[in-house]
Symmetry: C2
Subunit: 315 residues, 2 copies
């Protein structure tokens, strides 16, 4: 693969090159290192929005509505839907096509699902690299949508500039959402499907719960939307913009970006060393045998492996 | 802390010692290595059941009903609820107390929530160590309940002997569950709250989706339950037992256990090395500066760090 040409294609904003580059991230290909080096100088200018919530709350419809609002403001927008794809269903490609229709002829909109099973570091490492590709391709707004409300999904949303958490009536209550650690990471809450029974109760419950926590420099607002009819989208968009301006002015955005960059580099390094460990364990039939027969416990075995990998450096 | 005494307490089946040992896992304490070495020879006899599903499907009620069924068969049962606890809510301790009431006077039942934020490896590394503590304390059945339906939660459920996936009418459809990669890991599906509208449709949709996939040696059954009235719990319990017997006879259980043990050792090693990387990055102001100013990209910086950690081995 010609990585130089691919890098040029991304920087020249060619949709095909961007799509191929994100496929490299999906598959966790070794060529990523060269691509990353080529594009990194062209990143950092885009604002990122995280969109997280349980299946069925309407995240995709919200993302489409946000794209429309951002386009009306003249932004170039990319949507990255992080999708731990099932080999059964063939992933969200169908969903992509449906969603693409509205923006199919607009060169300033890019919508893409990304599976992460091929990437050793999972979505936590795949997402930031894909976002950088989109930034290098000149998108000034990147919406990162996650499927599911688990720990990893919340962490990915928390790594964006503005984390938007979506709830809907009847889809698990706010207490249960809170358990996933969502209250602390959200900058904006949305109760979508606000035309349904129980929406007002969800808003009330959420506000009460937020008041139980310590005061924070940014008080996360709770908004109501009905994405299917565009109800509340204007207010949502201006709230996201307001949060973005506040985060830049307070210095919070840059501090958060720096911190997540350092953690990412550590994780990339840990994945590299993990490959060394896998190789070392595969080659050590004796250690595997002692582990399976319970002659050595997992911590002890890990210690032996780590010593071996460190010693390789001196060989 | 006297780890020898704690280890003896766990092996002597003292509830207080078991609770303290699991707290060590929660906090990711360094004493874990010694505890692990002391108990590992006493593990491997328990069957493990994973219970995963979106917030609100009734996992906790199902777990309690399963405990009742297992106790009727004379089993010693532990429930481990993996809970990425929010500092706002104080975690699931309240839920524990409510659930404990039914089994509070039964020394052969142990119910415990476990937060995993202190553990560097997250729930993927905390869960198996906590399960081994429960095995060493003589529980012959361990139910691992996860909150959320993200990638990490599905991985934890997949690491049990029998992965049970719970759905309920109105809580996101089966297609959306499938996206989280759940279809491939489930050994048994439950549609809970089967007295509600739409339950039959969820069962039908799920069965259709399972038929789209390739035939598998164990065809995962789809059962209906109403955990609050014990409806369907008997059949669920006998299906879980049947799957357990099948997995032992086919050799699949032991192959899966061996595989997850090797992956766990690699992950433990990777976490150890990650600490080295964090230390190295903290000490290298020049590298941080080049990273933040975009003179070096994340992959390049990780490569430099890894070289530094490997070289330490030779120092």
């Amino acid at each position: 693969m010609d990585i130089e040409a691919l890098t040029r294609g991304v920087l020249d904003r060619e949709a095909r090159a961007v799509a191929r580059a994100i496929s490299l991230v999906e598959d966790g290909r070794p060529e990523l290192a060269a691509l990353s080096a080529g594009i990194y100088g062209h990143t950092g200018a885009a604002a990122t929005i995280g969109l997280t919530g349980a299946p069925g709350v309407g995240k995709s419809t919200l993302a489409t509505a946000l794209v429309r609002a951002a386009r009306a403001d003249g932004r170039r927008v990319a949507v990255l839907a992080i999708d731990p794809t099932s080999p059964y269903t063939g992933g969200a490609l169908l969903g992509d096509r449906v969603r693409m229709q509205e923006h199919a002829t607009d060169p300033d909109v890019f919508i893409r699902s990304m599976a992460t099973r091929g990437h050793l570091g999972g979505m936590a490492l795949a997402a930031p690299e894909a976002v950088r590709i989109l930034e290098a391709a000149g998108f000034d707004l990147v919406i990162v949508e996650t499927v599911g409300v688990g720990q990893a999904e919340v962490d990915v949303a928390a790594a964006t500039d503005t984390a938007v958490v979506v709830l809907a009536p009847g889809l698990g209550d706010a207490v249960q959402m809170a358990k996933a650690g969502i209250l602390e990471v959200a900058d904006v809450f949305i109760v979508n499907k606000s035309d349904r029974d129980g929406a007002a109760a969800v808003v009330r419950e959420l506000r009460q719960m937020l008041h139980l926590g310590p005061a924070r420099p940014w008080d996360p607002p709770v908004l109501s939307t009905t994405a299917t009819t565009d109800e509340g989208i204007g207010e949502l968009w201006s709230t996201i913009e307001e949060h973005g301006r506040w985060a830049v002015a307070s210095g919070g955005r840059d501090a958060k970006r720096r911190d997540r960059l350092l953690r990412e580099v550590e994780s990339l390094g840990a994945e590299r060393l993990r490959l060394d460990l896998t190789r070392a364990l595969d080659a050590d039939a004796d250690l595997v045998e002692r582990l399976v027969s319970r002659a050595v416990d997992p911590y002890g075995a890990a210690e032996e492996l780590v010593r071996g990998v460190r010693d390789e450096g001196s060989a």
